[in-house]
Amino acid sequence: MHIMEGFLPPAHALGWAAVSAPFLAWGLRSMRRGLQAHPERRMLLGVAAAFAFLLSALKLPSVTGSCSHPTGVGLGALLFGPAAMVPVGFVVLLFQALLLAHGGLTTLGANVFSMAIVGPFVSYGVFRAVAALGLSRSVAVFLAACLGDLATYVTTSAQLAFAFPDPVGGIGASFTKFAGIFALTQLPIAISEGLLTVLVVNAMARF
């Protein structure tokens, strides 16, 4: 879930940008280190970012007939690791803002935090944890992608609640409101994302 252009107050917009920037710098640094050993990966990162963007622009068929968009960051985190997903996710989100009008430039920092930092790390952590428990790959992949997606949406709801606390119930009530309303769209997306990621990983494993 993306926060739209201009929706966050300036202090929050700039604040989240400041929070995300070090992560981006760290991701780029670890990427650069990898590229010194494998210069040919530069092309790979570009193509992978394009593929992640393509996945995020897909309309998934869902049981209810409505359409939803996956984020693709869960799959990316599993394939490239969470560190690489910060810059890749940044590029995807910037392109979404500029080419699809999803999200925005002023809200890029906040969206990068929820979708390119929290999401991939949760996905990666869940995958590691579930795999360590000895459950099947499909279960691990499903939970990783699904929970990564949910973590993104919970983070976004918290960011909105933090920016717009409820005058009566404060941040807590505001969080409940945002999380509750967006759950309608985000829960099916998280499940869809999990399913699609399992199908993709299984298809890839066969090649």
Binding site: G6, A50, V91, L98, F164, F178, L199
Partner: protein, 247 residues
């Protein structure tokens, strides 16, 4: 994706220096952040929209089609904000919050129209040029340049693959659709590596030196355009500052 991209190449300001358009959009954003009264915010949004529609001649249909999704988000979020917890549990409609919420909505609109003005009139390669001038990290720029080009290649591959699947009843029902999408995405994910190595070979064949260097576009009227943008931007800022001081 195609709609915004095509509009940017087709509009009248396509050849205008991206720095000029960037400065004008920045002024629009800052002005929206400074202003406090709903009237001035609405005026700012209107001016940015008018500049895009009348100045750059972006078609009205395109403009609305692009703005539709963010407007959906906006209405849903604003609806959320005028609900407050009721004393006896549950939620209640609180009209007294409306003025505050409408300022948030109008500010959001004013920022959005400013950015729409930039993205609907500036092709991505020009935006990347602007980012390069702003000293964005080279690695990030390379990734963006390459992935912008590959977006269209992959998109076409996806559409063709998906059509071929439809011809074999791959989208007959939602079960088939899911399976088809999984197969196609999996196959294309595998292709990511092949495409990257083909691009690498092509770059090597042209004496690649380790980064993607391209000739920057030249904008012969850049000076005049930037001056005009500064003037127009200053107007927006003056309006906003006045509002901030006296509102």
């Amino acid at each position: 994706m195609v709609r915004i991209d095509a509009a940017a190449y087709a509009c009248r300001w396509q050849g205008v220096a991206p720095s000029a358009k960037g400065l004008f959009a920045l002024a629009g954003i800052v002005a929206a952040w400074i202003s406090r009264s709903p009237g001035v915010l609405a005026l700012l949004a209107l001016m940015s929209a008018l500049a895009t529609l009348a100045g750059a001649r972006v078609p009205l249909r395109t403009y609305f089609a692009v703005a539709l999704a963010p407007l959906g988000f906006l209405s849903l979020s604003c609806l959320t904000m005028v609900l407050t917890p009721a004393t006896g549990g549950g939620w209640q409609w609180t009209p007294s919050l409306l003025p505050k919420v409408s300022v948030i909505a109008l500010r959001s609109l004013a920022v959005m129209t400013a950015v729409l003005g930039l993205m609907l009139t500036t092709p991505m390669p020009d935006l990347l040029l602007l980012l390069r001038r702003l000293r964005a990290p080279e690695l990030l720029l390379d990734m963006m340049a390459l992935s912008y080009r590959m977006l269209f290649v992959l998109r076409q591959a996806w559409d063709e693959g998906s059509t071929a699947q439809a011809a074999r009843l791959g989208h007959r029902g939602w079960r088939q659709s899911w399976r088809s999408m999984g197969l196609l995405a999996g196959q294309m994910a595998v292709q990511v590596w092949q495409r990257a190595s083909a691009l690498q070979a092509a770059a090597d064949a042209r004496a690649w030196q380790g980064s993607l260097r391209f000739l920057p576009a030249s904008f012969p009227n850049a000076r005049r355009e930037v001056a005009l943008a500064l003037l127009a931007g200053a107007m927006l800022l003056a309006l906003a500052l006045g509002d901030w001081l006296w509102a």
